[in-house]
């Protein structure tokens, strides 16, 4: 019972998650640089950054900041653990919401004007992408008749063909979830400075390191969800993942930041048109009696 493959994968996620996530971030930065005609940092740059962040010394802004951030990380890791352990992914996504809430609360607690706006905007983005995430999982369930990661993985038909609209919707919100332009309005990896750093404005050193780490973990299982859409053949999966990854970075580099109105409205409309537009007929066709 303890040594099911699922458990090993889940433990593997906890151990290797940061390495994979960090490499994803490293490739991301190199690709971004190349798109801008630069050479860019070395592949291992995110790890240098993280190790540097953990070597810094900084006092917290208040008593709640650090507990909230650590909780954020713990719950993100736990979400991933349960995800790869084969628990109900719909339930887990609700747990992920909890992790996000901790991050937002950490920002709120500082009281800093920049962090406060960042927190508000992050919340707004959560509101914007949440419906699509739920529809994605319901769509996957409907196609594979399971909320278990491995059972969906084992489905023989390529899900992307059954759920093209849902995939498009997911792609759209992936940009938000990964804090990429044009939806990087809560915080940003680039030197936009009007919000200082928004959500992470008053986090420095190890505290920021924890946020980064959580972000890496998160990106791993987000891409794992993307993977599910192509899981019927290994080749398709690789191409699909790489294409998705490339697309997200491309969008990041060719768009300018939008206002919150546009972020919310566009995400909800895409969810409704592509997501629900795909799910509703698909559900009606495939429902059992």
């Amino acid at each position: 019972m303890i040594f099911r493959t699922e458990n090993l994968v889940a433990i593997g996620f906890v151990v290797l998650g940061p390495i994979i996530g960090g490499l994803i971030a490293g490739v991301d930065r190199i690709l971004t640089a190349r798109m801008q005609g630069r050479i860019g940092p070395p592949l291992l740059q995110p790890f240098y950054d993280l190790s540097k962040l953990f070597s810094k010394r900084i006092a917290p802004v208040n008593r709640l900041q650090v507990p909230f951030i650590v909780s954020h990380l713990i719950f993100v890791v736990l979400t991933g653990f349960l995800f790869f352990e084969g628990s109900d992914i719909l339930l887990i996504i609700f747990v992920l919401t909890l992790a996000e809430v901790f991050l937002v609360l950490a920002a709120y607690s500082t009281g800093s004007p920049y962090a406060a706006i960042g927190a508000e905007r992050e919340l707004l983005l959560m509101t914007a992408y949440e419906p699509m995430i739920i529809l994605t999982l319901v769509g996957l369930y409907q196609a594979a008749k399971s909320f278990n990661f491995y059972e969906i993985l084992a489905s023989t038909t390529p899900l992307i063909l059954q759920l093209p609209g849902i995939y498009i919707g997911l792609l759209f919100i992936l940009v938000m979830k990964l804090q990429k332009s044009p939806f990087d309005l809560a915080t940003s990896h680039h030197a936009h400075q009007e919000l200082v750093k928004g959500l992470t404005a008053d986090m420095g050193g190890p505290v920021l390191g924890l946020v980064e780490l959580a972000h890496w973990y998160e990106s791993v299982y987000l891409y794992a969800i993307v993977f599910l859409f192509f899981s019927s053949s290994m080749l398709a999966a690789c191409i699909g993942l790489v294409a998705t990854f490339f697309f997200v970075i491309l969008i990041d580099n060719v768009t300018a930041r939008v206002k919150w109105q546009a972020a919310l409205a566009s995400a909800w409309i895409i969810t409704l048109v592509a997501g629900a537009g795909n799910l509703v007929p698909f559900y009606l066709i495939t429902r059992g009696h």
Binding site: R38, Q45, S51, A191, K197
Partner: protein
């Protein structure tokens, strides 16, 4: 992984420069010079920065701001003063409100010469500061956690 000298996050403060040096600092980020090759990122937040890049001289108004920004940077940290103004006040040194170079407010580790400083030399200055950061990190590691650390060390001059 020796992160410190390969991951240099910069906060740039324009004290009272003529903007000449600022433009050269920004030039470092462009594809021609690509500071990110060395792991340099410009951030707007002193709490996330390792290096304070100051252009222009200090005047009576901004001396507090400069001190405050420096004070909010977590240890280990370093300061690079860019251009003649940041060294001594430069062409503005005789102005009624100018106190002098950056060193009148905060300890400076590296001076980058020029009016304006060239991007190549700015990058060079940043990398020298990175080496100083590395030393400080080693020193900080051996220092007890709560001991107050005097932040002035012999400023390397170029």
């Amino acid at each position: 992984m020796g992160g410190v000298e390969r991951s240099i996050w910069i906060v740039h403060y324009d004290a009272s420069s003529c903007n000449g040096c600022d433009i050269e600092v920004l030039a470092c980020l462009t594809p021609v010079y690509d500071a990110e090759r060395f792991g340099c990122i410009v951030t707007g937040d002193p709490k996330q920065a390792d290096l304070l890049l100051v252009t222009g001289g200090v005047n009576n108004r901004n001396v507090e701001v400069l001190k405050s920004i420096y004070g909010q940077m977590p240890e280990p940290r370093a300061v690079v003063a860019i251009g003649a103004c940041a060294y001594s006040g430069g062409v503005f040194s005789e102005c009624y409100n100018v106190c002098g170079g950056v060193a009148t407010a905060i300890p400076v580790d590296v001076y980058v010469p020029g009016c304006a400083a060239k991007p190549e030399s700015i990058l060079d200055g940043v990398l020298r500061a990175a080496a100083i950061l590395k030393e400080r990190r080693v020193a900080l590691r051996s220092a007890p956690r709560n001991a107050k650390k005097g932040s002035t060390e012999e400023g390397a001059r170029r």
